[in-house]
């Protein structure tokens, strides 16, 4: 287990370095740079000063080396847009996105998996409605979902239109602040969770249908177990394997979805920060956001692997066997 974790940690480190370095270099090599934000007619001295401040007067390789040297000390440079160090900005935004992502993942799991079990194990109108709803949720892009939800919120006033806290929450105590955040969660969480819940439902339905066709399920039916027991106690466990595999991917989907959802709903998270950084070509902020995105992806992948390990006894046996072989050798 410890070697597994060590391998995963190394993988995570490599992922973060590759993703953030690629982001830095791509942001640098694409046409235009952050000095465009000074306006089309900024003076030459102001442009030169800004380029020097963000190391844009160096060649890309030299800039990367300087940035990596700083990043090794957890200093990721300054943001042009926010005029403050990238590290604090990215950490705060990542925490906000984590709140959103965890809530969306929880909702997607709680909605998608039970519906998938129903749709995969039954025939009839109910299953057909679930399938149709999933297809709609999968087809509608997050931009449209979030705009639609904002429109619904504006019309019904059931939820706040956006943001993470309300104006009245200026300087609140802890529980009041948490309650305020909770009130603001439904809109972005729904926009993020619906396509993922649909993905889970579709995967779960297919996996449970496949599991119910397996000989062990037929044997359980032959032994006289109720349909409910066959589905929940036998087929579901087996069907979890493909689902655990996509949990890591779901984190990636949450991150990409959060770009537009956070932008539309004014949620101050990593997706919105990344979007703003990319739009302004705020090079160190782009790299910092990408590094944090890499951390999220690595964590998602790790969680997916651990879930897979927990769900599939054959993987646990194989891991034990490999460990035993090493000890014997």
């Amino acid at each position: 287990m410890s070697s597994f974790l060590a391998r995963r940690l190394l993988f995570a480190l490599a992922l973060v370095v590759v993703v953030s370095s690629s982001a830095l270099l791509l942001a640098r090599l694409a046409p235009g740079d952050v000095t465009a934000e000074l306006g089309p007619f900024a003076g030459a001295a102001e442009i030169a000063g800004t380029r020097a401040r963000f190391d844009l007067d160096r060649n890309p390789a030299s800039q990367w080396v300087v940035w990596m040297a700083r990043a090794a000390r957890f200093e990721f440079g300054d943001s042009f847009l926010y005029n403050r160090p990238v590290r604090g900005l990215v950490l705060r935004a990542a925490a906000n996105t984590a709140v959103l992502a965890l809530a969306a993942l929880a909702l997607a799991t709680l909605v998608g998996i039970p519906l998938g079990i129903v749709a995969g194990s039954r025939q009839g109108t109910g299953a057909a409605v679930i399938r149709a709803a999933s297809l709609v949720c999968l087809s509608v892009p997050p931009l449209l979902t979030s705009l639609l939800l904002v429109f619904v919120a504006a019309t019904t006033r059931w939820f706040p239109l956006g943001g993470m806290t309300s104006v009245a929450a200026v300087g609140p105590s802890g529980p009041a602040w948490l309650a305020d955040v909770a009130v603001h969660l439904p809109l972005p969480v729904l926009a993020l969770a619906l396509p993922i819940a649909a993905t889970f439902e579709r995967l779960q339905a297919q996996a449970i249908t496949d599991a119910l066709r397996q000989p062990f399920a037929l044997a359980a039916v032959a032994r006289g177990l109720s349909a409910r027991d066959v589905v929940l106690r036998h087929a579901w466990r087996v069907s979890l394997r493909p689902l655990c595999g996509v949990y890591g991917l779901a984190v990636g989907a949450l991150l990409s979805g959060s770009f537009v959802v956070e932008f539309v709903t004014a949620w101050p998270g990593l997706g919105r920060l990344t979007y703003e950084a990319l739009r302004a070509r705020d090079i160190y902020l782009v790299a910092g956001c990408a590094a944090m995105g890499g951390v999220f992806l690595a964590l998602g992948s790790l969680v997916g692997d651990l879930l897979l390990l927990a769900a599939d006894p054959r993987l646990r046996e194989a891991a034990r066997a490999r460990s035993g072989e090493r000890q014997t050798a």
């Binding site: 694409a30 046409p31 235009g32 740079d33 952050v34 465009a36 934000e37 000074l38 306006g39 089309p40 007619f41 900024a42 003076g43 030459a44 001295a45 102001e46 000063g49 042009f80 847009l81 926010y82 005029n83 403050r84 160090p85 604090g88 900005l89 705060r92 935004a93 906000n96 705009l147 904002v150 429109f151 919120a153 504006a154 019309t155 006033r157 706040p160 239109l161 956006g162 943001g163 993470m164 806290t165 104006v167 200026v170 300087g171 932008f263 539309v264 709903t265 004014a266 101050p268 998270g269 919105r272 920060l273 703003e276 739009r279 302004a280 070509r281």
Partner: protein
Amino acid sequence: MSPARGGQIVASIRAEPRSFNRLVARDQSTDLLTFLTQGRLVRINRASFDLEPWLAERWESSADGRVHTLHLRPGVTWSDGMPFTSADVLFSVQAVFDRRAQSVLASSLAAGGQPIRAAAPDAQTVVITFPVPSGPGLRLLDQLPILPKHKLQGALAAGTFASAWNAATPPAEIVGTGPFVVREYQPGQRVVLDRNPRYWRRAPDGAALPYLDRIVLEIVPEQNAELLRLQSGGTDLSSSELRPEDYAPVKQAEEQGRLRLVELGVGPDADAFWFCLKPEVKGKDPRFVFVQRPEFRAAISHAVDREAFAHTVFLGAAVPVWGPVTPGNTQWFWPDVPRYAYDEARARDLLAGLGLEDRDHNGVVEDARGTEARFTVITQRGIGWYERGTAVLRESLARVGIAIDVAPLEFGAMIQRMLACDYDAMYYRPVFTDLDPAGNLDFWLTSGSAHVWNLEQRVPATEWERRIDTLMLEQAATIDPERRHEQFNLVQRIAGENLPVLYFAAPRLYYGHSVRLRGVVPSVLRPPVLWNADSLSVAPGE
């Protein structure tokens, strides 16, 4: 009935403030925060465009217009209780021209390319001396927020002024003489400003200003979401004018009694179309032979039906224009600027006069060597009216045999191409920094960084540009307003005859705000409503 005291309003802004120090940041959010938290010696009233006493209550000017003696308003204090004196004014001027401070205001506060000077005979008097006579004179000082010496002199001495009062600074450190003080800044969410209890200004009835207890600036980066918030009552106002496509829903909300729609007037800036005319870059391009001829650009001007342009591009909310100074700039607009009536036959004649005819009958004119009048126009991606404007231009010019392909680009890429003259033609709205032409020398002078069609020339490329250079420098140094107008009208005539930039329509600007907001004095300049924040209030009981 006097306005109600107390209450708060919520406004939306689309971007974070880059700093709380306007001397080193020029973004719109920083500018707005400066309006709310800082004072100036004199102020240009955004509605009447008149110069008003502000932190200076009166002044005398020398006959040659170079020396201005300003008397500071007695009893003014900073929001932390420290007295405001002439030392703060001297410090602010010093900071603007300190090289290490890299102030973005240095060039706009210079006259004749040299810095203004400030001296303080006593704590309540400041003498501002211009190195050369200045047409705008004290109006230039409207741009200069006076910053507290006692808070920032250490940073200036240490050479860290450029990063002082950045967005990470604790709000308690930011003091001002404006109507509000920063209470809290939550990055990505909002800036909260509370009433400055030490604000100096009084209402005509003697009541202390501002009326409002609090202004909240919510950061809403997406413009559709910003509109939805306004419509649903989540915000009272936005920081900028409505887009043409937002007019109908806001009008509907007004009819339902939820919002108030205000016409600000014709905007001071118009969308512009120009070719890169830099001979060093374009000289070898065979199309440059005819593009550099004013007749070619006049043909384009004749080919566009400006009424239809205004109707299509701005959905009817625009007026036709023929020059950079729109009717929105009431002080400097000149109605006699050369006009080019919509006349496709005249456009074809002008093209034929340049030897441009459709010889191969493919719908595009070409010269005798077979060089087609075909161009790529760059514009900014994602802005509705730019996309509509270039579409109308494409159709209009196609009818007279000029083909254009449109390439919408991200802002940064577009600016990079513009600065390198790596484009054929461009459609964009360059925003003038000042209504007074002397404040826009960067646009008019051939050496200017905003002389868009041929940036930063070492020597004027054409005789008519040289003439404009001379006239504009004279105009900027002339005190007599009538003489200044004569000189600038001549500049407008020369530009109108040579058409380095073509203008088609200037938008009418509209603004929406909640019905509970009182004391709104709209302006075509930004910020359209919050420039007057100290006199805003909310309806009693709301």
